[in-house]
Amino acid sequence: MPSSPSLQTTLLDCMPPLAIRAYTATTALGRGRAAQLDALRARRGGLRPNDFGSRDFGTAALDTWIGRIDGLEDTALPAEYAAWECRNNRLAWLALQQDDILDTVAAMRDRHGATRVAIVLGTSTASIGETEDAYARLDDGAFPADMARPNVHTPHSLGGFVQQATGLRGPCVTVATACSSSAKVFAQAARLIQAGVVDAALVGGVDTLCGSVLFGFNSLGLVSSAPCRPFDSARDGLSLGEAGGFAVLERTPDRAGRGGEEGLQLRGYGESSDAHHMSAPHPEGLGARLAMGDALARAGITAGDIGYLNLHGTATPANDAVEARAVAALFPDTLHASSTKGWTGHTLGAAGIVESVFALLALEHGLLPGTLHSSTADPACGAQIRFDNAQRRIDHAMNNSFGFGGNNCSLVFGRA
């Protein structure tokens, strides 16, 4: 057995900060970021007993709790986008309507030109729910005519739809690295802007409930029959959720990020691989520590500068113990770190953008969420893991997103 890869010390240059011109999330807590802030502040969770089935799974339906978004079944896409119809693109469209995202995108397009604004979106399941439905309705072995739309039965369904809906002509990519997808979009967009390929980017992610993820995570024994309890010693699995969110990033006026303007910024990113197992984290959190360390280095700050850390915190027994140990190894006890998955469920490919939005809300409003449904901390938890909300001004926030395949991404946000 070869020895474990060691933690490398990397010497990374600081990245030029990027301005965040708009940001939003739509989750089981509601539509737009005011709904997120209200529910986080009131500690009002969005999970409900599983009632999902775009078709009837009958007696096979799972005894679990889900973070479902109301109203998606009743809101068709505008007729001009009918070819893109599916639950995932409906949620994308709903999320795009919130918090001035489309107006901000239009302003970027006018300011820089359509080819100078990129689209980088994350998803894990894309619109496989639509493909599942087509298989349930096969007509003599073939997709029914209304489902035979090649653009939606493929991972780039989300990117292709948003490209058409925004009229942007810059690079358009769907990142699909499981549950780190819509965190990594910030890193790829930062590279596109830094290299001068574009001047601004629409980033984000959308993932919707479907049979594949409900029964898939169930097959791995990772789904709880109760609302998930991240970092609790009695936690027994995750609750699945669906969500969509977006942010608009723009080059800052000068490389140092100054320019006389106030506002939120992307300050750093770190990406790594566990090199360990397809669906279990590295036991010492090697990849998590590399990702967090690189994000801090690119931001040019130290661990003590982070005021809030939104953890991946899925409430599976393995993830939370490993992540808690990795956090305890890197951060002082004064850090306020929490998992918000008790509010929203694990939104998979959308977790990166949703929890980046929560980190940005912490920066903007000083609301540091705790951890919902959890009461007795796992022995692996250091003083950093908090169950209660707190209210104080912070200067930097971090978000962790880790996915199958050992794919990790950490982001650092700050303000100008």
């Binding site: 890869p5 991972p155 990519v173 699909a176 499981a178 590279r191 790594s272 090199a275």
Partner: protein, 261 residues
Amino acid sequence: MSSLSATIEGIGFWCNGLPDWPAARAYAQGAGLPDDAPARPSPQVLAPNERRRAPESVAVALEVALAACLDAQQSPATLASVFASTHGDLAITDYMCSTLVEDPRALSPTRFHNSVHNAAAGYWTIGNRCVRATTAISAFDASFAQGLLEALLQLAAGEPAVLLVGYDTASPGPLAPISHSEGTLGGALVLSGAGHIGKPRLRATLVDGNVQPARGALARLAAGNAMAPMLPLFDALALGDDAALLKAGPGRVLRVEIAHG
């Protein structure tokens, strides 16, 4: 946009009938198909039992990735990587959707975790004990061009060398007429920012335009595979051509100029 550039340190290739880059290059230059080509890739990164069980998409991606690293004389553990696939593993999609109709509780946990688009990226980093960043992307028929762009961006951001892999597999069952893809195809490049005598150097620029149907030998041989849009670059590399055009999105093209070392 300003152009992005890189040296091509190594090349890997596999398609039905052409099991490596030397055979593919010879075929592009007018030679025939080898007689003894294996029916399936056999990626040495995986242990023998995993090699047999690996999804076809993982097998071809890891086969060409390792070949490119060997050609480049680069250790896989040191490289950041970009995996581009139009559809991911269509056979697993077909299995998942069929099983959900027949008996959802019977879903295989292994096939579920293999259904993620970054399965090949995961097996690659696990098999090589590589802790560097890896990503998995799709951009429909622009997937390879967007993957190449991301690899070049990582070089521009300071990575010394980056592995790029493009691959797709056959579309089975009811998906076949919807998500078109035939056979198995993979191509890989190890790209570096340094210049090396004797190695081709490429320069890429995004421009408006549309790509004409490709006429190269490789492009015609594997035309039915969803990753075929990458083949104009591999035909150009084989023939020593000085440019290739890759579809980069609706009405957009990645123009790749090649200086042969």
